[in-house]
């Protein structure tokens, strides 16, 4: 068998003994450059990219995520070779590494600040003394040409949504360029996690992006459990999946309604809003919190499913099974609505592939990755489900993927309820101090409703968090919105944006 680029990068290397479950290798600049080429040529995909005081880490996967590893450049003295020079999807991450860790990617085309708006009274620990002078004006990309005009929007938007700035350059009605500027809701979560006890860090993880609190709590817990080699009780795995699928359904319902509403089809929002509210009421009954915050903890789950909870979820599933098909039919049969969604905001499959774009956005543009399947985690290996995929890449395709995923999640919940194992719901996290390791590191990849969430964590011997890096799927989706809107009319932006529904908070961190 021919050796893949991934094998060529990793073969024959000795992995760090304290990194789990996938290996972490220290590499030299030669391998780093080879990796940049493999990324550029699409032979590997970028899963995460983050800095530390003197180290830059890169989570790398094969295109279908059948194999994953972390590569580290150690002893970086302020400057390291840019990946973005060959592979632009890494650009915003390198800009962030510079701000957060004071390490400069040499050779990158774009070295403007990203999350740092020059307003922090003090810069993050170990960061460059001044990534941005507060008096510097951020320079947007230049635009030249006749009859072009610019429309700046945000950070405060007209609706009840998160803040961010969009700068449109338009030729009449048509968008010729969108440039995003994000970072407004940067809360310094990684900084707060450093040194935090496990329980506090788990709560922070669950608030990286509140709409994905279950997925983030799960990703954090799985990374910690990997690092400490904690074996979670079987029932906990199943209850986690139950919560995760409920979260997925609630969010997809909200998105389907909101997308249609942005095409002035409010009845869909009203009906989806009712179903979404019913999901949240069932989760409140079952798990004691509408969004299920803090219900997944390292070691298991914080609350069990009792008879009332089971009844509430069974009733919920039955109701959605009854009501949802009518809404799908309504969407399918309303040509005036499809007139807005079909062929609008097309994301080309090649571009989705290049950015290793996950979630609904990726799967509406030909990707078939789903972290529940690859790399996979329990109990999904024991459950039957499809990973829907379309090739059109327009708003319509993103609506249909959401519709299909709601149906898949309903089927998953039914399987979980009928086969839920008995037993304990949590176990203690093993402190690995006795094992003699000063640090232990864990990595996880979990499928949230937006796509794959990566969490990397390093724990100290006393069990506190030394460093944690949560990577939102939106990092690899926001840049694609800039591409998808090109050539569309300005008035279709809300529709395109909603169909992407990237996270601001998860990205800004």
């Amino acid at each position: 068998m021919e050796m893949t680029a991934f094998d060529a990068i990793t073969n024959g290397r000795t992995a760090d003994p304290d990194h789990r479950p996938w290996p972490r290798f220290s590499v030299d600049e030669g391998t780093w450059a080879k990796t940049a080429d493999a990324l550029r040529d699409g032979e590997c995909c970028l899963l995460g990219y983050w800095g530390e005081r003197e180290r830059v880490n890169l989570a790398l996967g094969t295109p279908n995520l059948s194999a994953i590893c972390v590569l580290s450049l150690e002893n970086v003295d302020r400057v390291f070779p840019s990946l973005a020079a060959a592979f632009p999807p890494a650009a915003r991450l390198e800009r962030t590494i510079r701000e957060m860790n004071g390490l400069l990617a040499a050779g990158a085309a774009d070295s403007r600040p990203w999350l740092n708006h020059g307003r922090w009274p003090q810069v993050p620990e170990a960061s460059a003394p001044s990534a941005l002078d507060p008096h510097d004006k951020y320079t947007f990309l230049p635009v030249e040409g006749e009859s072009l005009h610019q429309i700046p929007v945000g950070p405060v938007h007209a609706g009840i949504i998160e803040p961010g700035h969009f700068r449109f350059t338009a030729n009449g009605e048509t968008v010729v360029r969108l440039e995003e500027r994000l970072g407004y809701v940067h809360k310094g979560i990684e900084g707060l996690m450093a040194g935090a006890p496990l329980a506090k860090a788990a709560q922070l993880a669950g608030r990286v992006s509140g709409d994905s609190t279950v997925a983030y709590a799960l990703a954090f817990a799985r990374a910690v459990e990997a690092a400490t080699e904690t074996v979670v009780p079987e029932r906990a795995h199943w209850l986690r999946a139950l919560m995760a699928e409920l979260e997925r359904i609630a969010n997809h319902l909200g998105d389907i309604g909101a997308i249609c509403n942005d095409a002035a089809f409010a009845i869909m929002l009203a009906h989806c809003g009712i179903l979404r509210e019913q999901v949240l009421r069932a989760t409140a009954t079952t798990f004691g919190h509408r969004l299920m915050m803090d219900r997944i903890i390292p070691g298991g789950v914080a609350c069990d499913l009792n008879g009332d909870g089971r009844a509430a979820i069974e009733a919920l599933v039955a109701r959605i099974r009854r009501k949802f098909p009518e809404l799908v039919e309504l969407y399918d049969n309303t040509t005036s609505l499809q007139d807005r969604t079909v062929a609008t905001g097309i994301l080309r499959p090649a571009l989705a592939q290049r950015f290793a774009c996950g979630g609904v956005i990726g799967r509406a543009s030909g990707r078939t990755v789903d972290a529940r399947r690859h790399p996979g985690y329990p109990p999904y290996d024991q459950l039957a489900f499809d990973v829907p995929s379309l090739i059109e890449g327009d708003v319509n395709a993103r609506v249909w993927i959401r519709i299909r995923e709601v149906e898949q999640s309903l089927a998953l919940i039914e399987q979980i309820l009928s086969r839920l194992p008995e037993g304990a719901i949590a176990t203690d996290i093993r402190a690995r101090a006795e094992a003699g390791a000063a640090h232990t590191e864990g990595l996880s990849l979990v499928e949230g409703f937006r796509g794959d969430i990566l969490v990397w964590v390093r724990l100290r011997a006393d069990g506190t968090v030394d460093r944690c890096h949560p990577r939102d799927p939106s990092w690899f989706q926001w840049p694609l919105l800039e591409a998808a809107i090109e050539g569309n009319i300005v008035a279709d932006f809300p529709l395109c944006n909603k169909s992407f529904n990237c996270s601001y908070s998860g990205h800004d961190l």
Binding site: L115, H117, R119, W120, P121, Q122, V123, P124, P155, V156, A158, G159, I160, I161, E162, P163, G183, Y184, V185, H186, K187, G188, I189, G191, L192, K200, Q203, L204, R207, V208, S209, G210, D211, T213, G254, I267, A270, H271, G273, I274, R276, E277, L280, R281, A284, T285, R290, L291, M293, E326, L330, N333, T334, S503, Y504, S505, D508
Partner: protein
């Protein structure tokens, strides 16, 4: 399409009876918000929501106020697109340093009389994000706050309850 619309007309409201305690609180709140709104604000209260650094959890519950179960608009309370049209700023999140100016300018753009409601534990004092280099603090660290609605996130019912309390307090001020 017509089928769905027609069915919506002939069917009983899709709103189902919520759990008893909830329903009682809702009914009670519904009646008083309505009466107070009429008295104090000429039947309408315009709210401009500002996310000053939230995790988006609070936004989800604020959104829920518009669904058929809570149907905020029946009280004459509605969300508006511009601070210039607003009586109330509903502010979420710990205020990040990067959003501080955005919040200040939104506040300045809102005509008096105006009220500020800080939503969530984060809006109260920065919540779990307090102490970060990137966070200025709770909402009151940046603009004067008339009411805090705690919770992480507060439920739609708690939000409704809070809006009522605001109406009463605003009446006393005048």
């Amino acid at each position: 399409m017509r089928k769905t619309l027609f069915r919506s007309i002939i069917q009983a409201p899709v709103t189902e009876a919520p759990p008893p305690a909830d329903a009682a609180a809702l009914a009670e709140l519904a009646a008083s918000v309505d009466a107070a709104a009429l008295r104090r604000l000429g039947r309408s209260l315009a709210i401009r929501e500002v996310d000053a650094g939230s995790c988006n959890g609070c936004e989800l519950e604020i959104h829920a106020l518009n669904n058929a179960f809570y149907d905020l608009e029946r009280f004459g309370i509605r969300f508006v697109a511009s601070p210039r049209h607003a009586d109330v700023l509903l502010v979420t999140g710990p205020v990040t340093w990067n959003m501080r100016e955005g919040l200040e300018r939104t506040y300045a753009a809102t005509p008096a009389p105006k009220w500020v409601v800080a939503v969530g534990d984060c809006g109260f004092d920065g919540g779990i994000f307090a102490g970060s280099y990137a966070v200025a603090g709770g909402v009151s660290a940046v603009v004067p706050v008339d009411l805090h609605i705690r919770g992480c996130p507060p439920t739609p019912t708690q939000l409704l309850r809070g809006l009522l309390a605001l109406l009463n307090a605003a009446g006393q001020d005048r």
